[in-house]
């Protein structure tokens, strides 16, 4: 599609945000207890869409809620009736501000699994009704490695609107999808912007500076290949030794999508929840008969690493990792998945 680039300044961007918040249901990073997280906002003052610090948790909960009510039922002597659940708060039309590229990318990864053998209508609806506005980072954080993965960060089309900080306080606003284009037409006042007449050179320059700031670099193809061969590597036992099986990584991960189904009943009314679960959880694979194929940490860790870099790749052609580093940031014992997969891959099986 024909790309138009709007150029404005910081003040213009603020106005743009304000206009969005005023006209739409808006979600943006909000600080709570010293960490950023996506929250519903009603004014720009509450949030910080351009925060250099990534949200601790991804935007995943907005598309795959922590605990989704999948049904509600009542049971009495006349039978069991499924009741309409309350309206899903996440299927309304909305805008998400300040999503990082990795987060935005994760939605594309998740789309694959949600459009696979079973089409999750709620998820689709949430996706369709959401406009994602993403600001490109200026600098990589300690655990970031998005540029080393199998997607083109520079030309990413996972967001509907892209915002890039250019030189001299200039801000570039581009639509990356048709939805984004329509959105810009509706929400951006062209009077406050200069329509960029020429090429997107400045954007390229910004990207190069950003890409150069990465400390972590890996060859994902090599990793994919090596990991696919080392299922029995004893190395997994070593790298998982200091893991405490706490599940945090899966809960903050933008691409982890495992869940459990459970009922909660009070009086004669029950709710069926679909809640997050994690393969690091000791009884994630516990079967009804009492058998547990992954009773020990290293097997769970192996599953996690291989699912991310081998199985998902084989099935959907993508890594189940966007290189956001949220797991490493939140890990209580500072384990980095980057280090782990590299360490395992570097020790080839004899």
């Amino acid at each position: 599609m024909n790309v138009e680039i709007f150029v404005t300044d910081k003040a213009g961007l603020q106005k743009f945000y304000e206009a969005i918040i005023a006209r739409n249901e808006t979600w943006a990073p909000v600080e709570k207890f010293g960490k950023f997280d996506f929250k519903r906002v009603s004014s720009l003052g509450e949030c910080d869409p351009d925060s250099p610090i990534a949200t601790t948790r991804s935007a995943k909960p907005l598309f795959f809620p922590r605990s989704a009510k999948i049904m509600k039922y009542t049971a009495d002597s006349t039978g069991t009736r499924v009741k309409e659940t309350d309206e899903d708060p996440f299927t309304a039309k909305r805008v998400i501000l300040g999503m990082k590229h990795c987060d935005a990318r994760s939605l594309q990864v998740l789309d694959k699994v949600y459009n696979w053998d079973y089409i999750d209508n709620d998820y689709q609806k949430r996706r369709q009704n959401t406009v994602v506005i993403s600001t490109r980072c200026d600098k990589a954080e300690t655990h970031c490695f998005c540029t080393s993965l199998d997607y083109d960060v520079e030309n990413l089309d996972a967001m509907d609107v892209l915002i890039v900080n250019g030189t001299e306080g200039k801000v570039h606003i581009t639509a990356r999808t048709e939805k984004g284009d329509a959105f810009l037409k509706e929400n951006l006042d062209p009077a406050s912007c200069i329509l960029h007449p020429v090429s997107d050179e400045e954007l390229k320059k910004q990207y190069q500076a950003f890409a150069a700031s990465f400390r972590l670099k890996m060859n994902y193809k090599e990793i994919n290949e090596k990991l696919s061969k080392i299922f029995d590597s004893p190395e997994f036992e070593d790298v998982s030794a200091n893991c405490i099986s706490c599940n945090t990584c899966a809960f903050v991960c933008p691409t982890c999508h495992c869940f459990k189904i459970s009922d909660e009943r009070v009086k004669d009314t029950g709710v069926r929840y679909k809640s997050y679960d994690s393969c690091n959880n000791g009884y994630f694979t516990l079967m009804a008969g009492g058998h547990n194929p992954r009773p020990v940490k290293y097997r769970r860790w192996r599953q996690r690493a291989l699912h991310k870099f081998v199985y998902y790749k084989e099935r959907f052609g993508e890594n189940l990792c966007v290189g956001c580093g949220k797991c490493a940031v939140s890990c209580p014992v500072n384990i980095s998945i980057f280090e782990v997969v590299n360490q395992v891959a570097s020790n080839e099986v004899v």
């Binding site: 009495d76 002597s77 006349t78 069991t80 009943r265 009086k267 009492g290």
Partner: protein
Amino acid sequence: MARVGVFVCFCGANIADFVDVPKVVEEAKRIREVKFAIDYKYMCSDPGQQQIRDAITQYRLTSIVVAACSPRMHEKTFRKALSDAGMNPYLLEVANIREHSSWVHQKDKKAATEKASDLVRMAVAKSIANEQLHEISVPVTKRALVIGGGIAGIQAALDIADARIPVVLVEKSPSIGGKMAQLDETFPTLDCSQCILTPKMVDVASHPYIELIPYAEVLELEGFVGNYKAKIRKKASYVNFKTCTGCGTCWQKCPVKVPNEYNMGIDKRKAIYTPFPQAVPNKPVIDAAHCTMLTKGKCGICAKVCEKGSIDYKMQDEIIEREIGAVVVATGYDLWDPKPYEEYGVGRFKDIITSLEFERMVSANGPTNGVPVRPSDGKVPKNVVFIKCIGSRDEAKGIEYCSKICCMYTTKHTILLHHKVHDSHAYVFYMDIRAAGKGYEEFVKKAQVDTAATYLRGRVSKIYKKGDKLIVRGEDAQIGQVVEVVADLVVLATAVIPPKDNPDLARLLGVSYDKYGYMSEAHPKLRPVETAKAGIFLAGCTQAPKDIPDTVAQASACAAKVCGIFSGDTMKKDPMISTVNNEYCTGCQNCVKVCPYGAIVTEEVPMGHGSKEMRTVAKINEGVCQGCGSCVAVCRSMAISLAGFTDLQIINEIVSI
């Protein structure tokens, strides 16, 4: 899926008058799991139970809810009905809609009905989580412990021992016999108390199945029915009973004189003494508090005069341990101290005595050789005033209840007075004459005629002294006038109260007691001799005031109960006990720490299927567990559950209100 039957009882009008029973049934029918619901006038009656039995088979019910009176009342009845119908009895739940709804919300039928419906819903929710439970067999130690050697203890011990079951009889004082040994004659037959009691005392001493431990007290009782362990402290008597012949030289020579408890302090005994001539065992003990050899190290006369050398001043208390299967508590009673009756001059006027003091005086072996005398001058009294209900039925000064025996013994005292002092005259101030009992009313009537005693219905307001006489001022309610009686002697019929240390003993035994200190029976009507603690029974005044025939009857009832427990080598036990799920148990042993019965031990189990690594888990000794649930609440991993009160059952109740 669960199929629950709900049976709602009218309890005649008790429930139906205040709760809309058909509505409760209707509400119950709306619950998903309820497949059958019905009401009936008396669910506990046989036709009522038949309905339950029929419905179980007809509707293939998997659990039963009976909405009726308290489960403490009829749970057993309905459980029986279930097992008669071939259903596990523990699939029953009782919704208490009488004590908890109809009787306490009599002014608001709507609210009471709503509450009853809720209680039924809770019971249904709980019953869904009920599991089939099976009674537990526990081995039984066939030995009974009888605490107290009065007539109740003696009777119970003899009855049990006659069934060839060993009995340990523990008596606090040096001799058995109790209060009855202090009595002269007994109402209503005027049998000589000693004549009927002492043969039984001798029987106890000589019975091959009775181990008599006098001058001792129970220190500890641990364990559970069929398997108690009792720790008994035998106080040092300083006399070797094995060698002592009971010749009496020691106490004749002893120089220390002490008020004689047996005679209510009217005369003196020695520091080495037998309580009374017919004492069993008839061996003296040294009163360590008064013996100068023991207190000051001076004297030693008894040791010198004892030909057998039986005196041992260095004797120590001895701890005796016995394994016991059942316990009969027969600690008897005390008499209320009438001191609060200051207006009567109690304590100031010597010639006001209590009835037991009077009893000792008129007793043939008493301190005055059977003749009543005035304590002040030793003269034989002519006009004697008896005042009843001293402390009894008196909320202000004493206690609320009727002591039951005072009417009768006061009547007896008027007769005894008449016998001993022919020209005397008795005045009796009374509130009511309560003479219910076989031959009692006749006894009172006859006494009134024979003794020509003056009965004055009314309370005495004041007693004062005039010369050497006491003037008793009271009201004669029948003529509505204040009367004054000139008395030589006033006898107060003091109330019966439980022994002071009854609550201590009750706590030690784990038995509940009421606000007065009487131990509580399991049910006032239907289980009057059992306590709530299995294997512990009550005989005599330890439960409530009663006379000798009632006491003896209750003692024999206890004996029957004890023999019932011992009728087999094992006994059945409630299956409401804790169990450990080894999979979840972490072996932290917090449960071991808090279990009051030491019922939890540890065992080693394999780490997983076929694993050689072992780990420690808790294990419940099901014979010892009493089902309190302390362990369940401290088990953080929820590895322990208490049958009948599982987390699921209780939470089901909570969430279904």
